[in-house]
């Protein structure tokens, strides 16, 4: 059934965030273009700085595929946006952490009490920070939480205006390599996933299921290529983004790309996060995160191999 | 019975207080008549002219031309304003042509003739800020003359001119008036001028402005300023005018 419903599809819209994802590699190499050209479909890339605009794009039918972190996904679902999570793109175990300055006297998560900690609300770092606070046996009110976007938190962190910073990659690598910062705690240490997901717009998936599979296959190729050609991948990212290879390598180590079905373990973590966000009134209704998970495409993609 | 002016009342709200400026001004101006208006400063002459031109509709009364009420201004009622009112972004010739195109040969020719007439040869390309007071006034005169209106309303058009240019332009005006048979209403402070040009002189009083006296001037053209009849009319106007001053000012008139 590669024809039929595929007939009226002229172009697919892929959103890519400004982070180091195999999607970028595939984009550079033109793999998606090549694959979809077989069906006469064009590929349109749109770059984003953060998650929420991508949901706006999905809601407006202007975006078909994208990759987003755990927190925006929950917000998107709570807002009633029609999408499906079709794959796990990373587990994010080491993608989140809390940075402190070396010699700052904060050596344990308990020391965060009364300290100024920067975090961007609604980000994965936000959720992570609350988890850390909980783990340390503190209450959120024990810590002076300051809401700052990453690029604003950075000067604040450098100038000592804040004591700690709950942040994700590539900032963790950047800061630890380029300046005198160290990671107080990361997700691995408190066993906290910050998963990332591959999304598809629901309507698109219903109308063009085979193209969704095709997308996952190409993405799988990119993921595998990155794992197999680590050096070249580092080289490529470094060139595309203009950042140091050393940093890129570190980032890649911490954020290993995946292309897998979404496991129950991940779903459970997500549900916890969602409940927690509801508790905080960040989202205004209770959601069941399972509802947006759809592993069927991934299963087809992974077992099918080369079906053409 | 061509131009009929009836202004029962014209008032301004000056700082909340209503001040009556014109009252019971009734005038019938014949087709082709030359009426001059004199009166003390601030008596409402300019206000009357603006009403006649259709520039000010807020009055009680009715202005009609050949039976039709004048409600809005137009090129049929030419107007030379007391303060020149040139467009500062236009040169002398552009100001005279105004909305007409100087590229049109007929306009060009007429404009050039008028520039000659008002003695502004050589100043065609100057902007208003580069003109002397009298030059600006002459531009305004040329602008109004270009349109050859049926009625021409002139508000002290020669006030800023020297004696000779003034006399020259008075004659120009008289010539045009006779040739084109325009109806003219001219406001002036110069009694000689009013006698020299008018068929009839309206002498106004002040506060509120009313017609004090209408004095006919039955002299043939061209008129001689030194002739005894001229001088006697002049004296008469002066006497009537003096009375209006007594109405409005208590202090000695200083003459």
């Amino acid at each position: 059934g590669s024809n039929g419903s595929g007939k009226d599809l002229k172009v697919i819209n892929i959103g890519v965030q400004q982070s180091l994802s195999p999607l970028l590699l595939a984009k550079e190499k033109g793999w998606f273009e090549k694959e979809f050209a077989k069906e006469g479909i064009k590929v349109k890339w749109t770059e984003f700085q953060s998650g929420p605009p991508q949901f706006e794009g999905i809601a407006a039918d202007k975006l078909d595929f994208s990759q987003v972190g755990n927190s925006p996904v929950i917000a998107g679902q709570a807002a009633g946006i029609d999408f499906k999570e079709i794959g796990l793109s990373q587990d994010g175990l080491k993608a989140n952490g809390i940075l402190v300055k070396k010699g700052s006297g904060i050596n344990d998560i308990k020391d965060l009490k009364g300290k100024k900690v920067a975090v961007a609300k609604g980000s994965s770092g936000f959720d992570f920070l609350y988890k850390v606070i909980d783990k340390a046996g503190l209450k959120p009110s024990d810590v002076n939480i300051i809401q700052l976007q990453p690029d604003e938190a950075m000067p604040a962190f450098d100038s000592g205006a804040i004591d700690a910073w709950s942040i994700w990659e590539p900032f963790l690598s950047l800061k630890t390599i380029k300046s005198d910062a160290e990671i107080l705690v990361d997700g691995e240490q408190i066993d906290r996933y910050s998963p990332g997901f591959t999304l598809v717009r629901s309507e698109f998936a219903e109308q063009h299921p085979e193209e969704v599979v095709r997308f996952l296959k190409v993405y799988d190729k990119a993921v595998k290529w990155q794992k197999a050609h680590k050096k070249e991948a580092v080289e490529a990212y470094s060139k595309i983004k203009g950042i140091d290879k050393e940093v890129v390598e570190n980032v890649l180590d911490n954020t290993e790309p995946l292309n897998e079905p979404i496991t129950d373990r991940i779903i459970q973590t997500q549900q916890e996060t969602a409940d927690f966000q509801y508790e905080l009134k960040a989202i205004n209704k209770q959601i069941d995160v399972k509802e947006v998970v759809d592993n069927s495409f991934m299963k087809k993609a992974l077992k099918g191999g080369d079906d053409e | 019975m061509s131009l009929s002016i009836r202004v029962n009342e014209k008032a301004f709200a000056n700082g909340g207080r209503k001040t009556s400026v014109l009252q019971d001004v009734k005038l019938a101006v014949e087709n082709g008549e030359f009426l001059t208006v004199i009166g003390p400063s601030g008596c409402g002459k300019s206000t009357l002219l603006k009403i006649v031109a259709g520039l000010d509709g807020n009055y009680e009364g009715r202005i009609s031309m050949n039976g039709r009420e004048i409600k809005s201004p137009g090129i049929q009622q030419g107007f030379i304003f007391q303060e020149h009112r040139l467009f500062p972004w236009m040169t002398v010739e552009q100001n005279i042509a105004a909305d007409l195109s100087l590229k049109e040969p007929s306009v060009r020719k007429k404009v050039d003739e008028l520039i000659e007439t008002v003695r502004l040869k050589g100043a065609e390309k100057l902007y208003p800020r580069e003109l002397s007071g009298g030059m600006s006034q002459r531009v305004a005169i040329a602008r109004a003359l270009l349109r050859e209106p049926e009625i021409l309303l002139l508000d002290e058009p020669f006030g800023a001119l020297d004696a000779f240019t003034r006399k020259h332009l008075q004659d120009v005006l008289a010539d045009i008036w006779r040739e084109k048979k325009m109806t003219m209403i001219l406001v002036t402070h110069d009694i000689d001028e009013s006698v020299y040009l008018a068929n009839r002189i309206a002498v106004f009083t002040a506060k509120p402005g009313r017609i004090h006296k209408l004095i006919p001037v039955d002299l043939p053209f061209p008129r001689s300023r030194t002739s005894p009849v001229f001088q006697s009319i002049r004296q008469k106007v002066l006497k009537e005018f003096e009375k209006t001053e007594e109405f409005s000012f208590q202090e000695g008139s200083g003459i």
Binding site: A75, I81, D151, E152 | -
Partner: protein, 278 residues
């Protein structure tokens, strides 16, 4: 056409002059025609569910959200702090703008040295300088107010400066002949003459101050209408975003109307301004 009706207001028999308050009310009413039509169409589109709610919630939903926000007290807390920030930023920025505009308009030396730098500053994007503001002023109220002030500065500055440049040199000559002290030159000549332009600058600045909130409240804030909007956007709570947008529009329009009333009061001497009354 308004151009045809530039008469000075007169005590005359014309009914128009007498029923001004009614006319005024009517003019007000007219202003609502377009918004009401748009809102009705919008509600229609929303009720027919032609567009996803996340992208464009219907007016009625927005109203409900608005009610909830008011009921919870959240709304007025946000509004209060935002107004405070915007007002502080505006007064600081517009005040300095007026001052610099006057100084630079007044002195050629000041113009030569300062104006080029200020013109360069004008097109430096706010979003790009926030890190510097945080570095220099922290993330407290100060840096937010300063960021707003930075935006509010320029419209007043440029309009004041240009207003002074536009003062009729003939009146300057009068001031010179009468040997006006420089202070009198400012208060009796320059300020009144450039008032139309200054008020215009103030109107633009008020708008900019208000808009500046969005960027200012992005940084280290947890209250304010700008924060509310951006926070709601993070969570795709579009109805809340729209409540914010509507408040921005309403407050913007209100302050603007206020300045225009001021304009009408202060510019009574203008020979031109009459045109607006009809």
């Amino acid at each position: 056409m308004r151009a045809v009706s530039s008469n000075t207001p007169a005590v005359g028999p014309k009914p128009a002059a007498k029923h001004k308050p009614a006319a005024f009310r009517l003019a007000w009413g007219k202003g609502f025609v377009l918004p009401v039509i748009i809102i009705l169409l919008w509600q229609l589109v929303g009720s027919l569910e032609l567009i996803s709610k996340t992208v464009l919630p219907a007016p009625f939903d927005i109203l409900l959200t608005f009610r909830d926000l008011i009921a919870s007290g959240e709304f007025f807390a946000h509004l209060g702090i935002s107004i405070q920030r915007a007002a502080l930023g505006f007064f600081l920025g517009a005040g300095l703008g007026l001052l610099f505009g006057l100084i630079i308009g007044f002195s050629k030396i000041a113009e030569d040295y300062l104006d080029p730098s200020l013109q360069m500053l004008r097109t430096v994007p706010h979003l790009a300088v926030t890190p510097l503001f945080i570095l220099w002023f922290g993330f407290d109220e100060l840096s937010k107010v300063l960021l707003i002030a930075l935006g509010a500065f320029f419209p007043v500055y440029i309009n004041t400066f240009s207003g002074i440049m536009g003062v009729d040199s003939k009146l300057f000559d009068v001031a010179r002949v009468l040997e006006f002290h420089w202070l009198k030159q400012v208060t009796k000549l320059i300020l009144p003459a450039s008032l139309p332009n200054i008020l215009l600058g103030i109107r633009l600045s008020l708008g900019v101050s208000w808009l500046g909130l969005v960027v200012a409240e992005l940084m280290g804030s947890s209250a304010g209408i700008g924060y509310m909007i951006m926070d709601a956007r993070q969570f795709s709570q579009t109805d809340k975003v729209f409540v914010g947008i509507l408040i921005f529009a309403a407050v913007g329009k209100l302050t603007d109307s206020f300045v225009r009333v001021l304009e009408r009061k202060c510019l009574g001497w203008r020979n031109s301004y009459q045109g607006n009354q009809k």
